[in-house]
């Protein structure tokens, strides 16, 4: 066990834990945001640079600070390390610049995008970014493409976090898509119009931090804040069957995995649950899902709401007289 201090909060963690995971153990505001790191996908992280933190003291043995800001998702902690995240103005300033970099090619089509309202990049730029853009160059434009019967790819929204690649590598048995080209022209593609129809490929939608991969069965159906997320489950032979059902009245508009407080899925679910079962009778509803008060999804979300019984005083009187 090693002892680290993150934003003046000490915690003891196992050796080899990254700074990000140590911060997640503390929880709260000091957790650095992560756009590419996903704790359930091995090898992810280190690409988006949003989780950069300042290491004021490398370790008890070597008290010098680290020369540059380090990516907290891929830097393991050392004994006596002192990390500054939100207490360092340098980190906040850098994060603002990182958001600007991520948005260089990201279109401002949130009103059209299905991810709006639950988008990590939207939240990040709202909390850390600038209100206006400084670039005048045109952004990259790609036509939206269908990859498989269930997934729509909007390449111009992609921030190249590689999460979907790791999902295809680690969750499904065969990967048919990848990143083509290099640098500025890299893009996610199946190269030759290939079809992604693996049973767990739908998880790519949930891990995508932006609206690059979206559910085709839910495309433009509704906005997420009009729907009520409910915990639901069913007997499934392929996956755990525990999902979030996004409901409007008694209709199920879409099914996603259950996301934890860090925006990561608790369990990966299969395509049959995600796309195939949209009837109310397919699912057993466990209850409403906890939504952060700050989230726009809670805008039309009433906890403890009791449906009023039918108000029909005349009917009651008629029943009495009979």
């Amino acid at each position: 066990m090693v002892k680290v201090t993150i934003d003046n909060i000490p915690i003891e963690v196992e050796e080899g834990t990254t700074i990000l995971n140590a911060a997640r153990k503390i929880g709260g505001k000091i957790v650095p945001p992560a756009m590419c790191y996903y704790s359930k996908l091995a090898g992810s992280g280190g690409k988006c640079r949003t989780c950069l933190v300042k290491v004021a003291k490398s370790s008890a043995k070597d008290p010098r600070p680290m020369p540059k800001l380090v990516a907290s998702c891929s830097t393991p902690v050392q004994d006596g390390m002192e990390v500054l995240n939100i207490t360092s103005p340098e980190v906040i300033e850098t994060r603002k610049a990182i958001v600007e970099f991520l948005l260089i090619n990201h279109p401002l089509d949130c009103p059209v995008c299905d991810q709006a309202g639950e988008c990590d990049l939207q939240d990040l730029s709202f909390s850390h970014g600038m209100a206006n853009t400084r670039t005048i160059e045109s952004r990259r434009e790609f036509p939206p493409t269908d990859i498989g019967p269930f997934i729509k790819l909007h390449m111009n929204r992609c921030i190249l976090c590689y999460r979907c690649i790791y999902v295809a590598n680690q969750i499904t048995d065969k990967r048919v898509h990848g990143i083509l080209f290099r640098g500025d022209s890299s893009e996610i593609s199946t190269y030759i119009e290939n079809v992604i129809d693996n049973d767990f490929s739908g998880n790519m939608i949930d891990v995508c931090p932006v609206g690059a991969l979206t559910d085709k069965t839910f495309r433009f159906k509704s906005r997420v804040w009009f729907l009520k997320p409910m915990d639901a489950h069913r007997q499934c032979t392929k996956c755990s069957g525990r999902v979030t059902a996004w409901m409007f009245g008694d209709e199920i508009y879409r099914i996603t995995g259950r996301k934890d407080q860090f925006g990561e899925m608790e369990e990966f679910i299969c395509n049959e649950c995600r796309f195939g079962k949209k009837e109310f009778s397919d699912w057993i509803i466990d209850g409403p899902r906890k939504i952060k008060r700050q989230s726009v999804i809670s805008a039309s979300y009433y906890e403890n709401m009791i449906k009023p019984s039918v108000i029909n005083p005349i009917g009651e009187i008629m029943e009495e007289t009979e």
Binding site: P107, L108, D109, C110, P111, V112, A116, N132, T133, T135, I136, R139, P144, R219, F220, K221, S222, R223, W225, F226, V296, A299, S300
Partner: protein, 192 residues
């Protein structure tokens, strides 16, 4: 007389003088006031013939604007509905098909857009929330009706006509900040 409390007022009971007794000076001074009102500016107007000008910030029924090329600006993002304190707005989105580029500006459009005018409180939050400058409050009124259902205004009631002559002028509602925002060429929907 012994006063019980100092709240009581002693009423004066003085007798009128001769000038007051003949009443004529009081009547004349009263008539001067009455006649002077005849030559003042009238506060009322003759309504059906003359109509009073609306205030510049008057908020009446909404209009769904089209852009300069006659395409619908609304993209059914739902921000007006989530901003609406009366929950009067509902919408259904649809995807633009190829060949409909002249009708709808964005990839997505509102296939159904309804405002329940009985619920609407004309606060103007929908206009404020709209990222596409699609909805504006106008000087038009919501007329009375016999049926409750007729107060649910759909797209046929709200959308402005394509014909450039019949466009609804909302320039009064456009703030300098908004006009500056429109000049911003970096925003994709401002690009030609």
């Amino acid at each position: 007389m012994q006063r019980i409390s100092n709240k009581s007022i002693i009423v004066s009971d003085k007798t009128m003088s001769f000038r007051e007794k003949i009443y004529l000076p009081a009547i004349i001074s009263g008539m001067i006031i009455t006649f002077s009102h005849l030559f003042r500016k009238k506060t009322t107007i003759r309504y059906p013939e003359v109509k009073r000008e609306f205030s510049a910030i008057y908020r009446g029924r909404q209009v769904l604007k089209r852009d300069d090329e006659g395409r619908e600006r609304c993209t059914a993002c739902g921000l007006c509905a989530v901003a609406c304190p009366a929950e009067a707005i509902t919408m259904m989105a649809a995807e633009r098909k190829t060949g409909e580029e002249n009708s709808y500006r964005e990839e997505k459009y509102a296939a159904v857009y309804e405002i329940n005018m009985l619920r609407c409180i004309f606060c103007g939050f929908c206009e404020e929330a709209c990222p596409k400058e699609a909805i504006f409050l106008t000087e038009k009124l919501v007329f009375s009706d016999y049926e409750r259902g007729n107060f649910i205004y759909g797209k046929q009631d709200l959308l402005e006509p394509v014909d450039p002559q019949n466009r609804i002028d909302v320039s009064k509602r456009e703030t300098p900040e908004m006009l500056a925002f429109k000049q911003e060429i970096n925003l994709r929907h401002n690009k030609k």
